[in-house]
Symmetry: C2
Subunit: 437 residues, 2 copies
């Protein structure tokens, strides 16, 4: 059905993009910590940002720039300090970093978008950043996506990268993306960041609409612990370098492009959920029969975020009562006498009535789906996701494609939707409690 | 300020109420599992129930009865099976249990309210219930509150009971309450139940209004894991046996009575939060400076429910970044440059700027507040809360009065509110993952 193919190259797969990732000395660990993504020409820029009322300076600067003019040439991302809850000094630091980069690239600072991730309440280490920016610019290359993807992680177990290609007319159009998030091995570190590049030509409002809809079906449908970050950012650049006709309305090609954009966002979002702190498996919740897609997504996300459901899945327990309970409290009315719940192919509840089911088989399904994810030989990893050096027990990208699937049918309506999460393990508590600031 | 005093007697402290708790054989464990509360005369009845769209039959029956006529004579509560997601058979079982009790008490079945707690998807063991009801009626006594409070628990570590008394004119008026909830040592068991008795005379709509407001400041402000039960019920009976004048509008006495009712609900709600699965301390979140009380309560409840904040408190870590992050995502706009966060008396953030603070002292405060709660000698327990037999490490009622206090000021508005929760420990995961259905 999908008319795209997976290609290599990440955010540098689309034409006219270069990227870099270097060690600037921002992270105490000495791991890579400064990433750049640069378009050769002004790119249409769209963004979706945290809805939190406690926000990092970078988020407000992106919003301000995109509101003034929906174009960008560069994205700079520093990892190590979130620069959130840092007051006026944090704002000044963010402004300064854009100024430094603008001089190095010889572009206006308004064409620079930025993101930060790391400890809340900590300023960026500006001395390291000042000397790092010129090094990062010097390192820019059209194969730099992997280096960039390694430089934006904080506590992720794997990097998250994908690129897809399809044809518009007879010319290839590509979308690439990298993301980080949800590992929290160090205290205070959180944040979901994702950067997407595209070489199609799209009008600015349409590109923003496409990105907003894609985010609603991907990043906004994942949950690890319900704690929205102060820095969450999804930024997408489209630079037109594929030389395909400019898309200005929802034509057939526009729909195909949006579908590919949505798939890039979904893959990255699922990778983040799978890499949630302490997770041993990815959970995919599929809701059908709702009145609207939005209400289906709301039920799906509530189930994905239910601590009781997450703990049951960690216990490999087909405990459908917790799933029913979570669905019921999602704030979406439905007739409980029509509720159906499946775990994989096992039907646990039908027409609101508990069924006898093969408990051994259902347990085996859960064990099997989490076993898939523990492939410790890095050679078994797919090309696009790499274990982060120094992390124990990297997870396999493969598990993103083989989640534990929980399906709910809540009625006879046309609405459907999905959400993704991960199980709740001892390690979640360990990661978030044992390390003190 | 408060013009009431703590008395003994629980739900049988108010005049004209009897209670009983017996072992009917509903629970596989053989512990007490059937409770009755009976008023000598028809009592004004009000209730607040789960908002879940997956509900137990008992909840729908209570709603139906109260809508038809806001009076009741008896409350019956069975523990062991939730009778939720049990379809038509579950409804028939609930109707039958009311019919049996109505014959035993020689009252109309419409005057009987009911509650169930236990495993979702399981019918009540009707054979045990049929023989148990007459035994429970025979056991009714005006000192039966403790027995009743022991018969409604599932996996609670302690029972939750309180009674308060004040004067209206020169006559004593009493409110008593019992509750259960939030321990989840066995799989699938959840539910918050609370039954409140009062011997004041109040008009039905006013009593319901008072109870709704009290619930909004108490039970609706606690969270253990965000998973609303299918069976949550708060039922309050007022039988007028204090022979004080009927209260029909918000007079000064009505306000005093509502304040006492709110205090009963708050004490029981805090007891439940403190007894949350795996909890080692009670957290009290105090929000001031909001635009409205409602928005203050919303921020407080979001912080109380934040997994990252809960895990940090378990780690005894004054990790204010997580508190700020949770406040920011509560859906309530505020100016982050005015945000102030305190832990006990330690000011961690002021005017949106991180402060240097005594980390050793703040850590000691957290250690101290959780140490208070680990009093293993049952003699140290307050009179009103008793350890449940067979449970290890009972918690002290005292800790309800000495929570970890997290205070947030979000601006200069008049709105304030509180919420309560507990920390997130390894045991939460253990309790909810290790036991399989």
């Amino acid at each position: 059905m999908a008319d795209w193919q997976v290609i290599t190259g990440g955010v540098t797969a689309p034409k006219g993009f270069r990227a870099a990732g270097i060690t600037a000395g921002l992270k105490p660990s000495g791991l890579p910590d400064l990433a750049l993504i640069v378009s050769d020409v002004d790119a249409i820029a769209a963004g979706v940002f945290t809805t939190s009322h406690v926000r990092a300076a970078c988020v407000d600067i992106c919003r301000q720039n995109l509101k003034a003019k929906p174009y960008a040439r560069a994205i700079i991302c520093n990892a190590g300090q979130a620069n959130a809850s840092t007051g006026k000094q944090g704002w000044a630091d963010a402004v300064e970093s854009a100024e430094i980069l603008s001089k190095e690239l010889n572009i206006s600072p308004e064409l620079i978008l930025q993101a930060s991730t790391g400890v809340i309440g900590k300023r960026i280490r500006m001395e390291a950043l000042r000397s790092g920016i010129p090094q990062a610019v010097a390192a820019l290359s059209d194969t730099g996506s992997d280096a960039a993807s390694r430089s934006i992680v904080t506590t992720d177990l794997v990097t998250k990268t994908i690129a897809l290609e399809m044809k518009i007319g007879d010319r290839p159009v590509r979308i690439g993306g990298i993301a980080k998030g949800s590992g929290m091995i160090h205290p205070n570190m959180a944040t979901m960041l994702s950067f997407v590049t595209c070489d199609a030509a799209v009008s600015p409002p349409l590109w923003q609409d496409m990105l907003t809809r894609a985010a609603n079906k991907s990043f906004n449908q994942i949950t690890v612990d319900g704690d929205t970050s102060t820095n969450d950012s999804l930024i997408a650049l489209a630079n037109g370098q594929s030389r395909t006709p400019v898309i200005t309305s929802m034509t057939a090609d526009a729909e195909r492009l949006e579908a590919m954009l949505t798939e890039v966002c979904r893959y990255l979002a699922k990778s983040i959920a799978r890499d949630g702190e302490g997770a041993t498996c990815l959970m995919e919740i599929v809701v059908t029969g709702a009145t609207t897609d939005e209400s289906a997504r709301q039920i799906a996300k509530t189930v994905a975020g239910s601590s009781l459901t997450k703990a049951a899945i960690y216990g490999r327990d087909p405990n459908w009562g917790r799933i029913a309970g979570a669905a019921g409290r999602a704030g979406v009315p439905f007739d409980q006498d029509q509720l159906e719940i499946r775990l994989g192919d096992y039907v646990l509840l039908k027409d609101g009535q508990p069924l006898e089911f093969d408990r051994v088989g259902a347990n085996a399904y859960l064990v099997d789906r989490s076993a898939i994810s523990i492939l410790k030989d890095p050679s078994e990893f797919e090309d696009c996701n790499h274990p982060v050096p120094g992390r124990e027990e990297p997870i396999a990208a493969q598990s993103v494609h083989y989640p534990v699937i929980i399906s709910l049918c809540v009625g006879k309506g046309p609405g459907s939707g999905k959400a993704w999460g991960c199980d709740l393990s001892y390690d979640y508590v360990k990661i978030n409690a044992e390390y003190t600031t």
